[in-house]
């Protein structure tokens, strides 16, 4: 293994500083006792975190986002696992079309999906419905689950399944007792990735949420365009903490680099 030279290491430190600076400043400012966005100079205070928890709109949006992410990630798994089995196990006419269809939300800008959903909802009168919001989030997070399910299925040793079939197990039993446990890490990783992506989504949601279904990122966006005080930093710090916790779980369980990088 070759070592990195001093120039490379300085470059590396600069990149790290660039990547971490906005996140670190948020976490510092969140603890300010002042009324303005400033670094805590006189002492640390939790007053802005208390302000967040006492803010009914932020709390309503937070729980709304949690439920939205839970439902859409679960629905995405329900669609992606059978679809992944069909795509990886069978060759049939329309297979390429299905694959492209399920992965298309990765290529279509969220902005375009947002206006398309808005048009559909206006025509069928679904504006403001939480169930339809779940449906839109399911669309955007299903590809993440499908990719991980496909990767898990393609790396699978088929001999255990064949043995089960030879010993007389039916297709469903084979799937439940052999295939499902073996691809479970892929499914769980996909669910978490889907959850995070739904929880963070702004651009599409901003078109399809109504005052009753505003998600946390949309609420934060609206708040940031109107007034800027340290409460925004406190909410952001909480979001960073939640994401970091989810990242740690993902990393411990499956290796985050494998989930984000190694799809091939």
């Amino acid at each position: 293994m070759q070592k990195n030279g001093p120039v490379a290491l300085i470059f590396h430190v600069l990149v790290l500083t660039f990547v971490l600076a906005p996140l670190v400043i948020i976490c510092l400012v969140a603890f300010t006792p002042e009324n303005t966005l400033s670094l805590p100079t006189t002492g640390l205070s939790l007053r802005w975190f208390e302000a967040v928890f006492a803010h009914p709109d932020f709390m309503a949006s937070f729980w709304n986002s949690i439920w939205l992410a839970t439902f859409s990630a679960t629905l995405a798994v329900a669609f992606a696992v059978p679809a992944g089995l069909a795509i990886s196990r069978y060759t049939f006419p329309g297979r390429d079309f299905l694959n492209a269809l399920f992965l298309s939300p990765l290529i279509i800008p969220h902005l375009v999906l947002g206006v398309a959903f808005l048009r559909l909802f206006a025509l069928i009168g679904a504006t403001g419905s939480f169930a339809w919001l779940v449906a839109t989030h399911t669309i955007i997070v299903t590809p993440y689950v499908l990719r991980l399910v496909l990767a898990a299925l393609s790396g699978l040793d088929r001999s255990a399944e064949q043995a089960a079939r030879t010993l007389g197990a039916g297709e469903w039993t084979t799937f439940r007792r052999i295939t499902a446990p073996m691809i479970l890490p892929g499914i769980t990783g996909g669910w978490l990735l889907a959850f995070i992506n739904s929880f963070d989504e702004l651009t599409m949601s901003i078109f399809v949420t109504s005052p009753a279904t505003v998600t946390l990122p949309v609420r934060m966006y609206m708040y940031a365009t109107e007034s800027i005080d340290p409460m925004m930093a406190a909410v952001s710090a909480l979001m960073i903490a939640i994401t970091a916790a989810a990242m740690l779980v993902l990393d411990r369980a499956f290796g985050l680099d494998r989930i984000l990088v190694g799809q091939r």
Binding site: V19, I26, P82, P109, H110, D200, Y221, V261
Partner: protein, 286 residues
């Protein structure tokens, strides 16, 4: 599973529900939006039932829209260039590290991908504001304070931050396929470090860099949160323009036309990329 005649319809039974869901919620809304973009619009009575090309004509002839499209392309291109200039060397440096550090720093670089864009953009608005850390640092150095927030510079800085992981990931993946001994072999055979980098490492990295560039360009050109929060009211990009047409001007057909243009441009880039990758793969294989 053993292929049996009765399983002929099995894949469609498995994927069917999802396929219907996706057709109903991806293809149908997109088709409706395309139709919407041809509807006439009247400022006092709203969407008309007559069809017209006028929105597309307006978008490609009006100076106001052309300026926004031109700015969108310029910002996306600049972001892509800077991401490549930072992301490619960084991925190379990461790939040369030893293992606890390598995994840790890879996580630090790509982890922010999972933090909401609103949060990261808000962080930059604090750093770049008139009283922000960047300006305080400039003043410490005795330099005049700069107005960065609400300029294109601010948008590019934050976009680079948001998009960097999308450049590092494909380059990193490409580098993982490169045997480090090949580079060492080039040195042994008398190549300088620079020559080895240029003749051995770069060809591997190029494809990853191209793939990363396309993702970064596509995502930057349709980015919403960063220009909306850091661009102020005047500096609009394609996505903020669509947002304004829809939710402020209420001119949905015009907004739909701009959204369709953004979508088609994105798909063209992806198609061109697939062609290029296939051509390259054929050359390597054949």
């Amino acid at each position: 599973m053993t292929p049996r005649p009765s399983t002929l319809s099995a894949p469609w039974l498995l994927a069917g529900p999802g396929a219907l869901f996706f057709i109903g919620l991806v293809l149908l809304p997109l088709a409706l939006t395309v139709i919407l973009s041809f509807h006439a619009y009247d400022h006092s009575t709203g969407i008309q039932n007559t069809f017209t090309l006028s929105h597309y004509v307006a978008v490609v002839t009006d100076e106001y829209y052309l300026e926004i499209f031109w700015r969108t392309l310029r910002i996306a291109a600049l972001t892509t260039l800077i991401c490549a200039a930072i992301g490619v060397p960084e991925a190379y440096i990461l790939s040369r590290m030893r293992d606890p550090w390598r995994s840790i720093f890879l996580l630090v670089i790509i982890g922010p991908l999972l933090v909401s864009v609103v949060v990261r953009t808000f962080g930059w608005s604090m750093l770049l504001g008139s009283q922000g850390l960047v300006n305080q640092a400039l003043q410490l150095l005795g330099l005049p304070s700069a107005r960065i927030l609400y300029t294109e510079t601010a948008i590019v800085i934050a976009l680079v931050h948001v998009m960097l992981p999308f450049m590092v990931i494909p380059v990193w993946t490409a580098l993982q396929k490169l045997d480090p001994m090949v580079e060492a072999a080039a040195w042994t055979l008398g190549a300088s470090h620079f020559t080895a980098l240029r003749r051995v490492v770069m060809p591997q990295v190029t494809l990853g860099m191209l793939s990363g560039s396309l993702i970064v360009f596509g995502l930057s050109a349709s980015a919403f949160a960063v220009p909306a929060l850091l661009g102020g009211r005047r500096l609009k990009m394609a996505a903020t323009l669509v947002y304004d047409e829809y939710l402020q001007e209420l001119n949905w057909p015009l907004g739909a036309a701009i959204a369709i243009i953004v979508l088609v441009a994105n798909l063209c880039i992806m198609l061109a990329y697939n062609r290029m990758v296939e051509a390259r793969a054929r050359r390597t294989l054949g």
